[in-house]
């Protein structure tokens, strides 16, 4: 999905898939916000995450106890 391509109709379709009722008058605003969020998080695609696992929450405390 290109952030430029995500419009109100996409927001309506994705919201329906998520089971979220989204009135027509909110579609423009929600789509614009979703585009902005996507543009920010899309930079993570630059990273090579091969072999990298998610960090479990609380790892810091366990490390500290070692």
């Amino acid at each position: 999905m290109s952030s430029l391509e995500f419009g109100p109709r996409d927001a309506a379709r994705w919201a329906a898939r998520a089971g979220l009722p989204l009135p027509d008058e909110r579609l423009d605003l929600v789509a614009a916000t979703a585009r902005h969020i996507h543009a920010v998080v899309a930079t993570l695609r630059e990273l090579d995450l091969t072999g990298v696992e998610p960090t479990p929450a609380g790892a810091e405390v366990r490390d500290a106890a070692v």
Binding site: V40, V41, T55, A57, G58, A59, E60, V61, A64, A65
Partner: protein, 460 residues
């Protein structure tokens, strides 16, 4: 000195010496809270009678020789995300109308066991999803934002309307309002203080911690929150301490006054014997992406039910973020989780060479209420929330402890803060450095001068 002007340590010493009773202290702080309520509005609710009864009880226990430690009889405010059995947890939201907590949160239970006296619940930006807390005003200038999301907690402490307070921090929500109101804030290591019974914004980024007038006070509260006995911080110099000074990120896009104040503080740490070491902050290009990639979908998941049943009860700013978060791709969430692994790995490696990193807590002092963006000399414009989160988020993503300490004021008389970020499990190191710095400042622990108006002599 009136009782409400005492720091936690000062009040505890006066109570231990028999010079002050918990009832006298609580009454003084309650009166102060009533005085500032109209201008600053830090509290959702004050529970005068319950607080007075708790203080009387604390006094009877002390008289009977059953002291519970330094928090015994000390009045506090809880951010209104923290459950107290039988009381509403409003989250400063209409969504929570009619709510009553069935059980105490771990935090509330531990503070009660330590003998602390709950005054009431302090305002949060709605469900902690914001950086300004618009219901509440800055303790130093009522036309400025309180900061957030623990705005009520910070303002209550800064104004003398609570001797200490509890906040939560998902992207800076303890440290930002603490810095903007001239008080100390500690975001402990992720998981060190239990979040059970605290309304979550984002599980993997949420932290609970104290807002206090001094670093020593923060250490006292942290001990109670973790169920540990307080071990006094070491006095003396900082010989042998390696202090990392960032060469990137933390001094970019900050006001000249912030940079001057924090670099002055760095100089004082050096004068105290610390060794300064230039450090390169890793992966800064990805800080906002990881923060949003974790927080946005987790927040929407937390609000899944009420976003479907009562969406109209949310404030406009929070509702649209929650709705947009429903459209978030699982692949992006996983990518943020894995990127966090890399970022944390790099930060831990950084701490092989230093014991603590010193940096600005916020890029600018409190902005005017209603201001939406911050402009920088190179033409960069960022939203106010983005500006305030930028320097805080790395410690949320990595889970490393981070302490905010006041470092003076800008030309308009508004407070500024520095951040001391510790390595894994490094609370005590950050507190030690903060305490040593604080002892170089004659104004450490001081209250905001008068509710809502900066000192005229400093205004420009």
């Amino acid at each position: 000195m009136r009782p409400y002007e005492l720091t936690l340590a000062g009040a505890a010493a006066a109570i231990a010496a028999g010079e002050l009773s918990p009832a006298e202290l609580t009454d003084s702080v309650l009166r102060r809270a009533d005085e500032v309520a109209g201008v600053l509005n830090p509290y959702v609710s004050l529970r005068h009678e319950e607080a007075r009864r708790a203080a009387e009880r604390a006094g009877r226990e002390l008289a009977a020789g059953r002291g519970r430690g330094p928090l015994h009889g000390i009045p506090l405010a809880l951010k209104d995300l923290v459950d107290v059995k039988g009381q509403p947890t409003s989250a400063s939201s209409r969504v929570r109308d009619g709510h009553l907590a069935a059980e105490d949160s771990v935090v509330a239970a531990r503070l009660a066991a330590a003998g602390a006296v709950l005054l009431g619940k302090a305002h949060t930006h709605e469900f902690a999803y914001g950086l300004t807390t618009p219901q509440t005003r800055n303790a130093w200038a009522a036309d400025r934002v309180a900061g957030g999301s623990s705005g009520g907690s910070a303002v209550a402490v800064a104004a003398g309307a609570a001797t200490f307070a509890i906040g939560t921090d998902t992207g800076g929500s303890i440290r930002v309002p603490a810095a903007l109101n001239g008080v100390v804030g500690l975001k402990p290591s992720h998981g060190l203080v239990p979040t059970r019974g605290v309304t979550s914004l984002s599980w993997s980024l949420d932290h609970v911690g104290p807002l206090t007038r001094t670093v020593e006070d923060a250490a006292l509260v942290l001990a109670a929150l973790t169920g540990q006995e307080y071990a006094p911080l070491p006095d003396g110099d900082l010989a042998g301490l390696r202090v990392g000074v960032p060469v990137n990120h933390y001094f970019d896009h900050v006001t000249p006054e912030v940079e001057t104040a924090v670099r002055d503080a760095v100089g004082r740490l050096r004068d105290l014997g610390a060794e300064l070491v230039d450090v390169h902050i890793p992966m800064t290009r990805y800080v906002q992406a990881v923060q949003w990639g974790l927080m946005v979908p987790e927040a929407s998941a937390n609000h899944e039910r009420t976003l479907r049943t009562t969406p109209e009860l949310y404030g406009d700013d929070v509702r649209v973020l929650l709705e947009a978060g429903e459209l978030f791709h699982a692949g992006d969430y996983l990518r943020a989780q894995r990127a966090r692994t890399l970022m944390r790995r790099e930060w831990v490696r950084l701490f092989e060479g230093v014991d603590v990193v010193v940096a600005p807590a916020v890029p600018t002092a409190a902005v005017r209420a209603g201001q939406e963006s911050v402009s920088w000399p190179d033409g960069t414009v960022e939203s106010v929330p983005d500006a305030y989160v930028r320097l805080s988020a790395p410690a949320n993503i990595t889970g490393l402890p981070a302490l905010t300490v006041p470092v003076g004021r800008d030309g308009a008389g508004l407070p500024l803060g520095m951040q001391l970020i510790g390595g894994p499990g490094g609370e005590r190191t950050a507190l030690r450095a903060g305490r040593a710095y604080e002892r170089t400042r004659p104004d450490a622990g001081s209250l905001a001068p008068e509710a809502g108006s900066p000192p005229a002599a400093l205004a420009v």
